[in-house]
């Protein structure tokens, strides 16, 4: 075991290759340090809330860098928040119900509704530094990314098999060891996939988060989103395509450098008893694993560090089984509860005061908008289901087709639909379609992929003996769909539709209201209502339409999707 690596080290070819790898890794580290310097100078420089956005493609690398940093920072915050929130919700029995309900509601609130509060607070916090505005934009992206990650980690924690938990308890794992050896690994795969979805969502709303008008104040942060929006606004088609190209390039690069390796790496956390046949691979991960530099780093720095942390926790876990700080804990909890209740009451009072200024016509137009958007969400879901079910089943049943189609679909899905809006709008306006119909198309662009991916996964999961039964008994086409395919993909279809419907509601914000070529295109809808209220600084309408949207989404979830989900979990579950 120990002899073989030594021998292979001696081979010359191995050695040079490894040094090359180290150089690459070193270059990456240097680039990272330089990037930090650039960002720091920018963040701590004087505040320029409305930067002049250049149309030149030459500005794109820097803009792309700023946007990536924003999304990365927002993602890091999301990850930390998701871990903490999921952990507390899963282990604190008293708070669990409340925290899950809060998550459910927050998830249904569109990003833009957070905008005024977040932005004004941040600008007030750092009035003289760019950091305030920047941090506001990052927080906005954060609000669009964090909820499903928190849900995923919470659900993972809740589904850890009982015997694994008992093993950790009987062998007296410290909280730290339990977290690193049981909880985090168990949640890793869910976290990685949800991270991908979240970051894709971040790109989707990037345009909205980087450039917006809040009442009389104009916010414009240098970045890809604002570049695209400015280019589209002034009708500079060439610049739109440059921006689109840059965005797709960045997304593909991130996919290659981050998500592929993350997926390949997280494969080892799969909770399976036997080794699966197909394992994801990643060239980057392979490179990182073979780099001698990283190996030394983990050996010299990481291993002793984790050893130190572990023995600290291990020793503390051993004697401290007492209940001394109990009273102290109760007092802290009560104080926190009182403070929380105070804040909530104050906010409620403020909300009621704001809502009192609503006029009758505003209420009517919001409700009418809600109905219109509801209709659009339904139509877009129906269209999505209509084409993705046959297409997904065809792809899922045919491994050859799946191999060809899946990477394409993945790229198509990772391109944020918002980036395509200007192009599509141009086409729509040329053929004379309005935004009323166009917004359905835009919603569809953003959400149909969730359905497609889930249907493909569902079709692939149908056991081949069931398909063979259908062959043996010569089921006719309709019988085959009715008895094998539809029940087989049902749980997956429901999952996809739930995600898609949430996405469609959120997308209505950007789909129904659009600044384009110097004018504002909009149609009747709840999303348009929210966007317009943000633009004009009408907080009463903003608050009211946000509440309406959250109520609609949550009640549809409870009354339609959850029962369907339960049905899928019980009747249509295929156990292998």
């Amino acid at each position: 075991m120990t002899l073989r690596p030594l021998l292979s080290r001696a081979v010359v070819g191995e050695r040079t290759w490894s040094a090359l790898l180290d150089l690459l890794v070193l270059a990456a580290v240097l680039a990272g340090i330089d990037g930090v310097a650039v960002i720091t100078r920018y963040w701590f420089g004087a505040v320029t809330p409305a930067a002049e956005i250049s149309h030149s493609p030459r500005a794109l690398p820097l803009y792309a860098f700023y946007s990536v940093v924003r999304i990365a920072a927002a993602y890091m915050m999301s990850l930390a928040f998701a871990l903490a929130y999921g952990y507390i919700a899963a282990y604190n029995r008293r708070l669990e119900g409340l925290m899950v309900a809060v998550l459910d509601i927050l998830q249904s609130i569109p990003v833009l509704s957070f905008l005024p509060g977040v932005m004004l607070a941040m600008v007030a916090l750092f009035p003289t530094r760019q950091l305030g505005v920047e941090f506001g934009a990052i927080l906005l992206i954060f609000t669009g990314q964090v909820w499903n990650m928190a849900f995923s980690f919470y659900a993972s924690l809740k589904s850890i098999p009982r015997e694994l938990r008992e093993a950790a308890r009987i062998y007296a794992f410290s909280a730290w060891q339990r977290f690193t050896q049981l909880e985090l690994p168990y949640g890793a795969i869910g976290l990685v996939w949800n991270s991908m979805v979240s970051v894709a969502g971040g790109w989707f709303f990037l345009m909205a988060c980087e450039m917006f008008v809040l009442g009389k104040r104009d916010f414009r942060l240098p970045g890809l989103g604002s570049y695209l929006q400015t280019a589209a606004g002034s009708g500079d088609t060439g610049a739109v395509f440059w921006g689109l190209g840059a965005m797709i390039g960045v997304i593909l690069l991130i996919d290659f450098l981050v998500w592929r390796p993350a997926i390949a790496w997280s494969d080892k956390f799969k909770f399976e008893q036997v080794e699966g046949s197909a394992q994801p691979t990643s060239a980057v991960l392979h490179m990182l694993r073979r780099s001698a530099l990283i190996e030394r780093f983990s050996l010299v720095v990481m291993a002793p560090l984790s050893e130190r942390i572990n023995s600290r926790f291990a020793r503390r876990a051993a004697p401290a089984a007492g209940s001394a700080p109990r009273a102290w804990k109760i007092i802290a909890a009560v104080l926190l509860g009182v403070a929380g209740a105070g804040v909530i009451l104050y906010a409620l009072d403020g909300a009621v005061m704001t809502l009192k200024t609503l006029t009758g016509s505003e209420v009517v137009s919001t409700l009418a908008g809600a109905a219109a958007t509801f209709g659009r969400v339904l139509v877009s879901l129906a269209i999505a289901a209509l084409w993705t079910i046959p297409a997904g089943v065809a792809i899922g049943f045919d491994p050859k087709l799946a191999r060809i189609a899946q990477p394409f679909a993945q790229i198509a899905a990772s391109v944020p639909a918002t980036a395509l809006f200007p192009v599509i709008l141009l086409a729509l306006l040329r053929i004379g379609g309005g935004l009323g119909v166009g917004s359905i198309l835009l919603m569809l662009l953003g959400t149909q992929w969730y359905v497609l991916f889930n249907v493909i996964a569902g079709a692939m999961a149908i056991p081949s003996d069931l398909k063979e039964v259908a062959d043996v008994f010569r089921f006719r086409r309709w019988d085959r769909w009715r008895t094998v395919i539809l029940p087989g993909i049902f749980p997956y279809l429901v999952t996809g539709m739930v995600t898609a419907s949430g996405g469609a509601w959120n997308a209505s914000i950007v789909a129904e209201y659009f600044h384009f070529q110097g004018r504002t295109l909009s149609t009747i809808g709840l999303g348009a209502q929210i966007s317009q209220a943000t633009d004009t600084g009408n907080f009463a309408v903003l608050l009211f339409s946000t509440i309406v949207m959250a109520l609609l989404v949550v009640s549809v979830n409870r009354s339609v999707w959850r029962p369907l989900y339960r049905l899928a979990q019980t009747r249509f579950k295929l156990e292998s």
Binding site: P161, E166, I170, Y171, S174, F271, Q273, E275
Partner: protein, 437 residues
């Protein structure tokens, strides 16, 4: 001798006070003493595993208390280990990391962790697999890792929750043997072993003391020492009489007979439930394979699961047509004669072998011959068998006897009138008139 872990009047119920309250464990006393392997046996759903969790401190009893070396237990018991039914290995850790994890929890330094884990992996026969991941191992090897992880902390008591029930029959048998060997040679650094199982033979094979649990709610039905020498033999009549006794206790609630005094009276021979055609197939195969072959290969050649093959082999052995030795089946002279005979001769050979070797077949034939009308009701034989077997098993025994008796044309059975009778115009000693099929 003071108990290591002692449960006093522990009980467990779920739900709130009042009507919705379900008691799963009635107040129970139980103690684990040093130097013994204790088996807790009970039907599924009887609360065995819950009791194990109460004894280890993983679950709290709703009443009563658990003492560990005389001290009341408030949390998970320190210094015990559990081997789980599902192995409960961390799939993202290597074999070595899995085994070292409990040491890490104790704050043992890295070098010592590795040294101790490697040593214990050696003991369970897994050296060379340190860097494998659990998913790369077979079920038996995974459970070996489970044992290594449990033993590495040198637990006072080794708890095992159905440790072999997720494994196939032969692997389980093998692991049981190795466990016993470790225990008897004192290579296992533990003072006592507590095993939960629903497998009666497993309990009798392993345990120094067996506690049988009844269900709804769980209550101790019997608690007795197993005074059998090791190594124990499944075929030993004293072994089988203990198995039967436990079977009776489990299947007949309310009847609290004392455990049998060993050595017990000679026992009724049990017919293995095999088809005569399968026996013939086995013998033909053996004759083709040079008279002797490995049990596994025979199973593969006949496309049988090993579990399904065993009764066939037992039947052949009972009839004197084959012998079993160290996992091999070997055909006897009588067996070879049978394999080479034609259909009519086979019946003849089978008939004489059955009359000579199978007590139930002989008894049915003799009883029928003794009757003037050559018929007897089912009840007659059922009463006879009930003394030796469970009701269900008695029925199964009669079914097999009917199947074999018909083939040998010794007797027949009318399912409508529930009667056994001798075939007309044929006496058991005369050659049959018609060859069936």
């Amino acid at each position: 001798m003071p108990a290591i872990i002692e449960a006093r009047k522990v009980e467990k119920s779920y739900g709130t006070e009042g009507d919705g309250r379900i008691q799963v464990i009635a107040p129970t006393d139980m103690a684990i003493y040093p130097g013994e392997i204790m088996a807790l046996l009970g039907p599924s759903g009887s609360g065995k595993s819950t009791l194990l969790r109460i004894l280890t401190g993983l679950a709290r009893p709703t009443g009563g208390e658990v003492l560990h070396n005389g001290q009341p237990l408030t949390g998970p018991c320190s210094n015990v280990a559990i081997v789980f039914q599902s192995f409960a290995l961390f799939p993202w850790l290597t074999v070595l990391e899995n085994v070292a994890a409990p040491l890490k929890a104790l704050g043992v330094q890295a070098a010592e962790r590795e040294e101790r884990s490697t040593r214990i992996l050696d003991v369970v026969g897994l050296d060379g697999f340190e860097n494998a991941y659990p998913k790369e191992l077979s079920g038996g090897m995974k459970q070996r890792v489970g044992f290594a992880r449990a033993l590495v902390v040198e637990p006072e008591v080794l708890f095992m929750d159905e440790p072999f029930s997720a494994l196939d029959v032969l692997t389980a048998e093998n692991l049981r043997g190795e466990l016993l060997e470790l225990w008897q040679s004192h290579k296992m650094p533990t003072r006592a072993v507590f095993v939960v199982t629903h497998n009666i033979e497993e309990a009798v094979l392993l345990a120094d003391r067996i506690v049988v649990l009844g269900k709804n709610p769980a209550v101790v039905r019997t608690d007795f020492p197993v005074a059998l020498d090791r190594p124990r033999d499944h075929k030993d009549p004293r072994f089988t009489s203990l198995v039967d006794y436990i079977y009776r206790v489990l299947t007949r609630p309310g009847e609290e007979a004392p455990p049998p005094v060993l050595p017990a009276r000679p026992r009724y021979q049990m017919l293995p439930h095999a088809q005569h055609g399968a026996v013939a197939g086995l013998l033909e195969l053996l004759a083709d394979h040079g008279g002797r072959d490995d049990m596994y290969r025979v199973a593969a050649a006949l496309s049988f699961e090993i579990d399904d093959l065993l009764p066939v082999v037992d039947a052949a052995a009972l009839l004197g047509f084959a012998k079993v030795e160290e996992g091999d089946v070997e055909i006897t002279a009588a067996g070879t004669a049978f394999a080479e005979a034609d259909i009519l001769q086979r019946k003849e050979l089978f008939r004489s072998a059955a009359l000579q070797n199978l007590s139930l077949i002989r008894e049915i034939t003799r009883s029928l011959e003794a009757r003037a009308d050559h018929t007897l009701p089912d009840g007659f034989f059922e009463d006879l068998l009930d003394e030796h077997f469970s009701e269900e098993e008695a029925k199964a025994q009669l079914d097999t006897a009917i199947h074999w008796g018909r083939y040998a044309e010794l007797f027949d059975h009318d399912t409508d009138t529930h009667q056994f009778f001798l075939p007309e115009e044929t006496s058991p000693t005369a050659p049959p008139e018609v060859a069936a099929r």
